[in-house]
Amino acid sequence: MRRAALLGALAVALVAPGAAAAQDCPKTTLGEIEKEVMCPICGTPLALASEAPQAQRQRAFIEQQIADCRSEDQIKRALVAQFGEAVLALPGDEGDDDFEDVLVYLVPAVGIAAALGGIAFALVRWRRRQQSGRGAPATAGADAGRLDADMERYDL
């Protein structure tokens, strides 16, 4: 009985570090990465280059990195070391999760929103001006004559 308990404890001690390491391993998949990187020879995202031999080698390289417990960013950096920055398919992506990656999307969005806002504001002002122009009563008869005389007197 004691022997069995000892063996059990030994088995747990041997298996536990492996299980813990597997838990620590960053979870990423080939599918997630191949959407975000290019196949440099094919000139398309890797996900679209299904049968090209270079794409297949690139996939094997990524799968090896996943098996070695590398994170998505680490794998992207490894690809950049092999093929240069052009291997990254997403604008601003440098293989790391920093603020620049977000700015690439944020700046154009803010620019577009500001431009649309400006156009809407100009349109509203223009329509208001049109309406106030149309609503003004026409100057008639004697008033018109007096206005012309006044204008001539103050003609600058």
């Binding site: 440099p40 070391a81 093929f83 240069g84 052009a86």
Partner: protein, 177 residues
Amino acid sequence: MRRLLAPVPIAVVGVVVALVALLAYGLASNDPDQDVAGKQAPELELPRLSGEGVGSLEDYRGQVVVLNFWASWCEPCRDESPLLQRWHERMEPRRGTVLGVDVQDITGDARDFIEEYGLTYPMLRDGEGESRERFAILGFPETFVIDRRGRIAAVARGPVDDAFMREHVAPLLRERA
């Protein structure tokens, strides 16, 4: 006439002209010069595949260079490798060399390839593929025969064979620097 000079038609015409110019530029820049024979070989300086420093085409000035662009995943590159190795051994005593350039390839795969075929000629590594544009390379393998003065004497778009090497490389080896 006044209507034609209004800002909107002028802007539309401007945009159309700009788009046509952009299209023309795009077409012109996507048509690499394929007829390079007789021209001076472009400069080429790249890291060595072994990882030890950089190498350049200039290092081989005065020699006949068979510049071979390849990649480990390329089947025809496998077929021609033993022939290139044989010719390298033949050329070496006559001041000639094969110079391999591994393009946009995974370094580990390329080193395995070299070991598998027992290639002893110098190898450079072009991970980003900059040489593709310089040499107007469309596929793999492609081979440029460069004379002792650094001019491109012949180009093979596709794998080389013994007949090509005899016709284009052998006469250059007989020439003096």
